[in-house]
């Protein structure tokens, strides 16, 4: 377990009487895609919130690259190498596509306190930003306003912003949500490659994508991990079938 890039140890979180996370211990190893699946309301977002730092667990700890980050804010975890994409695109819609990736690169550079230089002409930031755009296939849209992008393109941009931070680990909250089958196929292929750069904790509803990508799957039901295993193990697991997969498996 020591080689895990990202690890939660027995984290629990309650909102009043609702126990949204119950003693969750999961980890993310180098080079893997670890998918988290579960029905709506299973506590996936709560789990992600605690991993990324927007929520504080009531108990348990979160380790990133071997360091305890349980009490660190989101931005410190980001600087330590945790990249994240959001379920609902969180992009600066009034800004251009390029400006959005530049923000990621700027955050990674850790030097926002420059008031007179032109950020777009900063070659090192711009190289990082354009490289990330090129990788997700948005380089031709660089000068477009983000609000003018299609839904699928916004999802791609989310990934590009995370890439500019040169993350050590990625947490992706439903990156395929609302994408057409063509788009999600492309993104699936992309994530397949990306895992070797940074392991991915993938929360996803698209089961085709999950089954084709995941090295391991954890099933979350009522705030509890009821099973963790390979795709085949999860498909065969009776408890999982009953609780979640139903006819799909």
């Amino acid at each position: 377990m020591t080689d895990a890039v990202l690890q939660t140890s027995g984290i629990s979180k309650s909102f009043g009487a609702l126990r949204a996370s119950r003693d969750i211990s999961i980890d993310l190893k180098p080079g893997e895609i670890h998918a988290i699946i579960g029905p709506n309301g299973a506590g996936k977002s709560t789990l992600i919130g605690q991993i990324c730092g927007t929520l504080r667990p009531d108990s348990g700890s979160v380790h990133l690259l071997g360091k305890d980050v349980t009490h660190q804010p989101t931005r410190a975890r980001a600087r330590a190498g945790l990249g994240r994409t959001f379920q609902i695109s969180s992009l600066a819609m009034e800004d251009t596509v390029l400006q959005n990736v530049l923000l990621g690169a700027l955050g990674a550079s850790g030097r926002p306190w420059r008031f007179f230089t032109n950020v777009v002409k900063d070659t090192s930031l711009r190289e990082t930003a354009e490289e990330a755009l090129a990788r997700v296939g948005l380089i031709d849209q660089a000068r477009m306003r983000t609000a003018e992008l299609s839904h699928g393109q916004r999802r791609q941009l989310e990934v590009a912003v995370a890439l500019t931070q040169k993350p050590q680990a990625l947490v992706m909250d439903e990156p395929m949500a609302g994408m057409g089958s063509e788009g999600s196929k492309l993104l699936t292929g992309f994530l397949d490659q990306l895992r070797h750069e940074a392991p991915i904790l993938l929360v996803e509803h698209d089961m085709d994508a999950v089954f084709s990508l995941a090295d391991r799957i954890s099933v979350l039901v009522y705030g509890e991990v009821i099973a963790t295993g390979t795709v085949d193990e999860i498909r065969a697991n009776a408890a999982v079938k009953e609780a979640y997969l139903g006819d799909e498996a």
């Binding site: 410190a76 600066a92 800004d95 955050g107 926002p112 008031f115 950020v119 777009v120 912003v161």
Partner: protein, 327 residues
């Protein structure tokens, strides 16, 4: 649609041409009016950094305007009476030198903005508006009760402060000085909006969670913007006091905060020249409509309504459309 850049150039040209006409036509009062517009514009360029870029709806910018005014008033008052501000722990004397007064105005209003910002930025939305308003009222009532510096009556400064190499008593020279400062402040605001800091601040207004996820602190970005914003508005306060040779608690009043915000709304929130266009239009209306009726604010209110309801992005937005994408 007019290109925004041409409209900006036209606005600046007006700020040069009108006083020129005023000299030849021997209309010194027009120069005073234009100076008033320039000083208001500087104050609003300051607020626009917090409001337009940072999304901070501050209803307390009169604090900085007033502090700038009182920095001038107090320093000049002691200088004209030949009394020191304080003799302990060391001697501080008044001054009639504008650069020194500006420096004090900027430092004092930055410090005030830092403290107010740290406390106010713990809140957001309506609460932020209310808490900045509350700070404004605190300073207002403090100034009213500060009898040593005139209390409710304010302070009169008999001779305008000096600037090396200029005769500031000549209206056109003082106007040129103010216009020069406005250009500097605009240059600063323009560079700022395209800078790494501007990019991050702009994003912090729209999606703070994204900025946080990128590893930056959106609250700290906004705090710095608030301080810079307050400093510029403070500078304008010192100029305003020198223009009138008078400071009073009115500079601290919430109406002043509201007016500074109105300039921006008329011209265009977040647009570089929004505050400039807004201040010019406001001063023109104040002069002409004010001559027609004591109730000219009714017409100002109507104009505001029309702009807010039908013109996204103020007058500049109505004339030039959406802001061009930055390069």
């Amino acid at each position: 649609m007019i290109r925004e850049r041409y409209l900006n150039a036209l606005t600046l040209a007006l700020f040069v041409a009108i006083p020129f006409w005023a000299i030849t036509a021997d209309e010194p009062f027009t120069i005073t009016l234009m100076t008033r517009a320039v000083v208001f514009a500087i104050a609003a360029v300051g607020l626009n950094i917090a409001l337009g870029l940072g999304g901070l709806v501050s209803l307390g910018h009169a604090v900085f305007f007033g502090l700038g005014g009182y920095a001038m008033g107090i320093l000049a008052y002691h200088a004209q009476n030949y009394t020191p501000l304080t003799e302990w722990p060391f001697l501080i004397e008044g001054t009639k030198s504008m650069p020194l007064i500006w420096l004090v105005a900027v430092i004092v209003s930055s410090l005030a903005a830092l403290v107010i910002g740290i406390l106010s930025l713990r809140t957001a939305g309506v609460y932020f508006i209310m808490i900045t308003l509350a700070f404004g009222q605190m300073f207002f009532f403090f100034a009213i009760s500060w009898a040593e510096y005139g209390g409710e009556d304010g302070l009169s400064i008999y001779v305008r402060n000096g600037f090396p190499g200029l005769n500031t008593l000549d209206p056109i020279q003082f106007y040129g000085l103010c216009l020069g400062l406005l250009c500097l402040v605009l240059l600063f605001a323009w560079r700022l909006s395209g800078s790494p800091f501007g990019l991050a601040l702009n994003a912090a207004r729209q999606v703070p969670v994204r900025v946080e996820t990128a590893g930056l602190d959106p609250v700290r970005l906004k705090l710095v913007a608030f301080v810079v914003s307050g400093a510029i508005t403070g500078l304008a306060g010192a100029l305003f006091a020198d223009l009138n040779r008078f400071v009073s608690p009115t500079m601290f009043s919430w109406q002043t905060s509201g007016e500074i915000m109105i300039f921006i709304i008329i011209g265009g929130v977040g647009r570089l020249f929004g505050p400039v266009v807004g201040a010019l239009v406001f001063v023109a209306l104040e002069h002409w409509l004010g001559a027609l009726s004591d109730f000219w604010h009714i017409y100002l209110g109507l104009l505001l309504l029309v702009i807010v309801l039908f013109g996204k992005g103020g007058l500049i937005g109505m004339l030039c459309g959406r802001e061009a994408v930055h390069d």
